[in-house]
Every structure is written in structure tokens, then in C-alpha cells.
Amino acid sequence: MLSCKELVAHSSDYLDGQLSLRERLGVRAHLAMCRHCRRFIRQMKVTQGVLRKLPDAAIPELDVLAERLAEQRNQSRQD
């Protein structure tokens, strides 16, 4: 059976669906028995959620850039 350390090493691949069926079943079997690793995987998922929901950095001069790009597009249409 997988050790906790091995489970942690496989955790990203598990979350990304990168494990073979056999490996995935091994992870599931471990998780069914080990509450520490269940908590770890749950917290890894929270970590992913946090990254997804981090507010975006504002784009400096968004309007200036958009105006410039639109102008260029309009120029090339007239050529």
C-alpha cells in the first residue's frame, strides 16, 4: 500500500487526472483508510480554489492600450 509520503508525492497528479487507473485506485484505497491524507487532499483542493479566486491584478493603462489597438486595427482596414 502507498505510504502517506508517497500519496503526497502523487497528490498533484491525482488532482490533475494524470495517474493510471491502477495508481488512482491505490490513492483511493489509501484515502479510504487515512484521515490525515484525506484532510491533506481536501486542503490541496482548497489551495487550488484559493489560487483560482485570487483577485486579478489590475492591468495598468487598459483603456490606453485598447484605444491604441483599436486605432491600429482601423488603420490597417483603411490601407
Partner: protein
Amino acid sequence: MSGNDVELLTRLLAGEQQAFRELVATYQGAMRAVAYAIVGSRNADEVVQDAWLAVVRNLEGFQQRSSLKTWLLTITANTAKTRLKHNRREVLLDDLPGPHGSVGGERFAADGHWQTPPNAWHEDSPEALLSEEELRQCLEKTLASLSEMQASVLLLRERQGLELEEICNLLELSLSNVRVLLHRARLKVFATLEHFEETGQC
């Protein structure tokens, strides 16, 4: 291409400024992450600017076989690679220490079982965690401490939702490298959250 892409493309081709605003607001973050991985932080902004100009120049010729996003990121990667053509920079795959460490060997006993298992967190929804201003700043520090490749792979996967294969192609990395980079980066972010939940501090 999705219906949204088709609609946006029509407006872009018509030169509508608001459409360009939407395009930049939606995709510049992902473009920056790609540029950052290939040319580093110092030149990333310049590459993104150049990529936008290339996008406008090539708008007419955009083959609608791929999504707008894939097309934009490919142009960005190509712009970045052209810039590097003659002085290929060392790609940093190194594992720099995160400010709050990672989940390393010291967490496990000799038999591979947890020695210091994860504790319950006070908050376990992303929204509740992110409501703490201090934690948001702390995460920014952690992200800034990642190597350029680690940061980019993490952002492209978690924030931009790219498939691992897409990341490999854009950044010219092997799948195993992408998997390792992603895992190490996630563990560092995990360690920051864990530290914050345990101490209430960054």
C-alpha cells in the same frame, strides 16, 4: 471556436475599442504568464506589448480552428521565443525555497506515515480564506518567490485552466517537468495557507 469568440472576433475586426478592452482584460494575464516563463520578469511586459501588436496585425488571418485564447497564447509564446532566438536564457527549473517552506520529508516518519499531519484549518473555503487581507498579501509574496517557470505553470494551470499538454507546448517543457513544477509550486502555496491558518500570521 465558441460563440463568444465568434462574436468578439467580429467586433474586433470592426475595430471596436470596447472589444479590444474586453480582449485585453480577459487574456492579458495568461499572456503575461507565458511571456514570464520564457523571457523572465524583466522582459515579459515588453513581449506582451509586442504580442498585442502582432495580434492586431494578424487578426484578419486568424484561422478559426483554435480558440482565441490558444491563438493569443501561441502568438505570445512565439513572440517571446523570437526575442530569445540568439541568446537562449537558462530555463530555471530550480526549486527555490518558499517563504513558508513546502511539505518536505521532515513531515513524515521513517515508515512514510505523517509525523506532523495537517491540522484542521479555521477557514476551509477559498472565499473565507481570501477575505483576509493579510493572507492575500502573504500569498502574493509566496507567488513572487516561485521561480519564473513554477509561477507561470501554476498560473496557467490554476488560474487560466490550461491543460497540461497545452502548457508543455507553449513553454516547450516535457510533461514530467510540468507536473513536477506544478506540484512543487502547489505545495509551497499550501504551506503558506497552512502556516497562516496555524499562526494567523504571514
